[in-house]
């Protein structure tokens, strides 16, 4: 089976986020005074082939741990769903 994967990488809480802070500081100037708590991360999308959803998740978790994140600084949130027909065929 093929699964669509979205990995959202964000800085761990407690790790300074200078990009988020800079974006947030600039917002009042644009009139967005009501926006708070800006954190900047990255999104990585891909497809993976696996026997089932559980197996796919295990492989993606391993990939995150070994490569896509640096556990000293970052956390990953994984969203995984069966691929839409033909999307990655």
């Amino acid at each position: 089976m093929r699964f669509d994967v979205l990995v959202e990488v964000s800085l761990r809480s407690g790790i300074a986020d200078p990009q988020g802070a800079t974006v947030e500081r600039s917002l009042p100037r644009l009139g967005f005074v009501e926006v708070h708590g800006v954190r900047v991360g990255k999104a990585i999308r891909f497809a993976i082939d696996a026997a089932d959803q559980e197996a796919a998740r295990q492989r993606v978790d391993e990939l995150c741990r070994r490569f896509l994140t640096n556990p000293v600084l970052e956390d990953a949130t994984v969203t995984l769903a069966p691929a839409q027909d033909g999307a990655y065929a």
Binding site: I15, A16, P18, Q19, T22, R65, R66, F67, N70, V72
Partner: protein
Amino acid sequence: MTARVGVVVFPGSNCEHDAAEAIAGLGGEVELLWHDEPALRGVDGVVLPGGFAHGDYLRTGAIARFSPVMGAVAAFARSGGPVVGICNGFQILTEAGLLPGALQKNRGLKFLCTTVGLRVETTASVLTSLAAAGDRLRVPINHFEGAYTCDPAVLEALRAEDRVVLRYVDNPNGSLDDIAGVCSGDRNVVGLMPHPERACDARLGSEDGAVLLRSLLDACTAGRRPATTVPAYGAGPGT
């Protein structure tokens, strides 16, 4: 006895010739080692130079860690061989799990290209053995992601084991505890953000980096070791 130092060249490295020039100027012999080589050609020590290895895509050092040469560098380091990572090289060593912690974007999102004051904190490392504790050195920095970060437990261990090798006199980038360089538990792997290779000639404004590279050459000749070819990737960042 001439020290033979391997300077690793990744796609995107840009300080390998600075390092080679400085090492040669101090009497060392340099081998430029392409990142795709699985062995170290029997060198006595390894330098991972500055630059943007593999474009620094994903994270600084994240892809360089998987270059074939890094298996040999990790095995060489584990056998006690002297390994020094400068700037991007430091970032690669943390990603490879050969040094603890990580390098974060500078405080204030500022790219820094300036000369800073460093304080030698310990002489028990392959990079500082010929210096004196408390020495002040003027050495250039040139980085965007140089703020050293680690877990509180790691910081405690680094302090307790005297593994903070260099501190900034006036913290330029938000580094935790003013840390400019750290070493491994065995003291043979050192990473630092400043560029000692650019401070080895008075015409460049400072010769203060020479004592650091001379220490490395000294460690190279003191510990002639057999060539290491066993691939053994680092356990990964955060270890």
